[in-house]
C-alpha cells in the first residue's frame, strides 16, 4: 500500500491523533506523518494489528534534536513483512520535558532502541520496563547526541581530551637541550657503505 493510502486509513479512525502528512517529494524520500505523543500507542497498535497494514517489524527508532525549534523528535520506521510496504511516524515533544510513550508493549525490539535513544538524546520513554543507559556508563552526565552537548573535562578523573602530537613535538623542540630550538632530524644510514 502507498503511504498516502495508509495515512487516509489512519485518518478514518484517528483523525484527532495524526496530522501533517508529508508525501515523498524533493528532499523527503520517505513519506511520513506526525502523531500526537499521547495517542502514539493507539496509532501503532492499529498499524500493527489492522490486516491492511500489518506493520510487524519496527525497523528503527531514532531521536532527532532541533534546538532552534526547541523540540525533540522520535522517528519510527515501520515495515511489513506481509505486504512489503513501509511507513514513517514522527512524534514531536518539547525539549524541556520530552515524554514519549514507549511502544515496547507492541514490539520487543523497541526495548533497546528506546534505551539507546534515551541514552544518547534524552527522550524519556514513559512506560518502558527498563529505561537505563545502554551505551554510556550509568553515571554519565548529559546526553551526548544533543546538539548543545558539551563534554566534561574528565570522567572519573580520566581526561576526555588528548594532547595533539604536534603540540607535544613543538614543546619538545623548545625544551630539549640538544635540539637548540630545532626539530631533531632523522639521519638516514646507508647499510651498503659500511
Amino acid at each position: 500500500m502507498e503511504a498516502a493510502d495508509i495515512y487516509s486509513l489512519l485518518q478514518g479512525g484517528y483523525e484527532d491523533a495524526v496530522y501533517e502528512f508529508t508525501p515523498a517529494a524533493d528532499g523527503i524520500k520517505d513519506a511520513f506523518c506526525k502523531v500526537k505523543a499521547d495517542r502514539l500507542v493507539d496509532v501503532c497498535k492499529f498499524l500493527k494489528i489492522d490486516t491492511r497494514c500489518r506493520f510487524d517489524f519496527l525497523q528503527c527508532v531514532t531521536a532527532l534534536d532541533y534546538p532552534r525549534e526547541e523540540i525533540l523528535v522520535s522517528v519510527y520506521h515501520l515495515y511489513s513483512y506481509k505486504h512489503r510496504h513501509s511507513f514513517v511516524l514522527k512524534v514531536e515533544v518539547p525539549r524541556e520535558n520530552p515524554m514519549v510513550p514507549s511502544v515496547t508493549s507492541l514490539w520487543n525490539t523497541a526495548n533497546w532502541n528506546e534505551r539507546e535513544q534515551y541514552d544518547l538524546v534524552g527522550i524519556q520513554y514513559t512506560g518502558h520496563p527498563d529505561l537505563r543507559r545502554l551505551l554510556m556508563p550509568d553515571d554519565w552526565v548529559g546526553h551526548p547526541m544533543r546538539k548543545d552537548y558539551e563534554e566534561a573535562d574528565d570522567y572519573r578523573g580520566m581526561a576526555t581530551t588528548r594532547y595533539s602530537v604536534l603540540e607535544l613535538l613543538a614543546a619538545y623542540d623548545k625544551e630539549h637541550p640538544q635540539t637548540e630550538g630545532e626539530r631533531p632530524r632523522i639521519v638516514e644510514v646507508d647499510p651498503d657503505k659500511e
Binding site: D30, F57, C60, H77, M145
Partner: protein
C-alpha cells in the same frame, strides 16, 4: 567469595560475571549471569565497551569524509557498511551510480559476505569445542582478503565505496583471480559440510537449542540469516531490491528444522553455509555480466553535495539488513545519521532466550546469532 559459595550450596541464585574480556563474546561484551547450578536464570548483556559514537562523528565531518568511519561500524563485514552509507546519501541527493560501479559493489559485498561467514561459522564451531574447522574457514578468508587488498588496498577496513560509485576499477587479471578463487572455494563448501555441519556430535549439540519461532524473530527485529533460519522468507536483496540484484538469480535458504525445531542454532549455522553457495552463484553472474559494462566508468563524483531532506536505505549485510537513516539540512555535513544493525537487535533477544539454558549454551547462542560487538555499540 565464601558468601558466594554459601549461596550456591543453599540452592540460591549465584551471580557470575562473564566478560568483557571473554574469548567467546566476539569482541568486548559483558554478561551478568544469574545461575542456579549450571542453569541460567538470567543473562543481562552489558554493552557499550566499544562505543565510539560513530553517529556523532557523522555530524562532524562531510558526507564523503565519513566513509572510512563506516568501516568501523562492522569491521568483519565493512563493505556492506560502506554500501549502506553510500546508498542512503545517494538516495538523499538523487545521485546516479554508473552500472559498472553497481556491479563492483555487488562483487565486493558478496566477497565480503563469504569472508564474514567464514569467521562466523569457524568461530562458532570453535566456541563449542570443535577447533579444526576454524583454520579451514580462515584459510579461505585469507584468499578473499588478498583479493580485496588487491582491489582496494586494505584487508579489513576497505573504504572502497564512494558517494556515487566506488574508489577503484578492477582489472581483467583481478577478475580471473576472483574466478579462480570461486573454482577453488565451491568444493570447499562440501568439504566444510563433511567436516562439521553434518557431524552427528555437532548436530546433537545444536539441534533444538534456543529456537526462535518466526513471530518471535520478527518481534525481536531479527534480520538476515537469523530471520531466515526461523523460517521467514525474506531477503533484502530479493524483496527490497537495490543495486543490480534484480538482474541476478539466486536462492534464499530458509531454515527447515531438519534436525530439530525450525529456527534452532543448527538452522542458523546451516543457513550461513548455504549463503556461501548463493553468494558464490551471485559472484559468478556478476563477474560475467560486468564484462558488458564500460571500463573506467566507476565513479560519478558529485560536484556539490549539500542535500536537504531525509532518506533511509537498507542493504543486506552479512548480519542481516542494515538500515541507515540520514537527515540532511543543506550543509556539507549530515544533520543526523543513524545505523540500525543486525547484531543490535539479536543481542537484546539473548536475555529473554537465556532463561533456563545451560551456561555453556550461552556461548553457543551468542555465536549462532553471529553477534559482533562493534556493530552493537557503534
Amino acid at each position: 567469595m565464601s558468601d558466594l559459595i554459601l549461596q550456591y550450596e543453599s540452592g540460591d541464585e549465584m551471580t557470575v560475571n562473564m566478560g568483557p574480556q571473554h574469548p567467546s563474546t566476539h569482541g568486548v561484551i559483558r554478561f551478568i549471569v544469574k545461575t542456579d547450578g549450571e542453569i541460567m536464570m538470567d543473562a543481562d548483556p552489558d554493552v557499550g565497551y566499544l562505543h565510539r559514537s560513530i553517529e556523532n562523528i557523522a555530524e562532524k565531518c562531510t558526507y564523503e569524509g565519513f566513509m572510512p568511519y563506516t568501516d568501523r561500524v562492522d569491521y568483519v563485514c565493512a563493505m556492506t557498511a560502506n554500501h549502506v552509507w553510500a546508498a542512503a546519501v545517494e538516495k538523499l541527493a538523487d545521485l546516479e551510480v554508473p552500472e559498472r560501479a553497481e556491479y563492483l559493489r555487488v562483487i565486493s559485498d558478496e566477497l565480503n559476505r563469504i569472508s564474514s561467514h567464514c569467521i562466523a561459522l569457524g568461530a562458532m564451531a570453535m566456541d563449542i569445542g570443535a577447533i579444526t574447522p576454524f583454520p579451514y574457514a580462515l584459510r579461505e578468508r585469507e584468499y578473499i582478503n588478498d583479493l580485496l587488498e588487491e582491489l582496494c588496498g586494505a584487508r579489513l577496513t576497505y573504504n572502497y565505496h564512494r558517494i556515487g560509485g566506488v574508489g577503484w576499477d578492477m582489472t581483467d587479471a583481478w577478475r580471473d583471480k576472483a574466478l579462480r578463487f570461486l573454482d577453488r572455494f565451491e568444493p570447499i563448501i562440501d568439504e566444510f559440510n563433511r567436516l562439521i555441519t553434518g557431524n552427528p556430535i555437532f548436530i546433537k549439540r545444536l539441534a533444538d537449542m534456543a529456537p526462535f519461532t518466526g513471530e518471535e524473530a520478527i518481534d525481536w527485529g531479527f534480520v538476515g540469516p537469523n530471520l531466515r533460519a526461523s523460517g521467514v522468507d525474506f531477503d533484502c536483496r530479493r524483496d527490497e531490491p537495490y543495486s543490480v540484484y534484480p538482474k541476478l538469480e539466486f536462492g534464499v535458504p530458509i531454515g527447515k528444522g531438519e534436525h530439530g525445531t525450525t529456527g534452532d542454532s543448527w538452522d542458523r549455522f546451516w543457513c550461513r553455509v548455504e549463503e556461501w553457495r548463493e553468494s558464490s552463484k551471485i559472484l559468478r553472474q556478476a563477474l560475467d555480466q560486468i564484462q558488458g559494462t564500460t571500463k573506467g566508468e566507476f565513479w560519478n563524483k558529485p560536484k556539490k553535495l549539500k542535500p536537504k531532506g531525509e532518506a533511509h536505505a537498507r542493504v543486506e549485510a552479512a548480519r542481516g539488513d542494515m538500515l541507515c537513516y540520514v537527515v540532511g539540512d543543506g550543509t556539507a555535513n549530515a544533520y543526523r545519521a543513524r545505523f540500525r544493525t543486525g547484531s543490535f537487535n539479536a543481542m537484546q533477544a539473548i536475555r529473554e532466550k537465556s532463561k533456563g539454558l545451560m551456561i555453556a549454551d550461552l556461548v553457543a547462542l551468542i555465536a549462532s546469532l553471529d553477534v559482533v560487538a562493534p556493530e552493537i555499540d557503534r
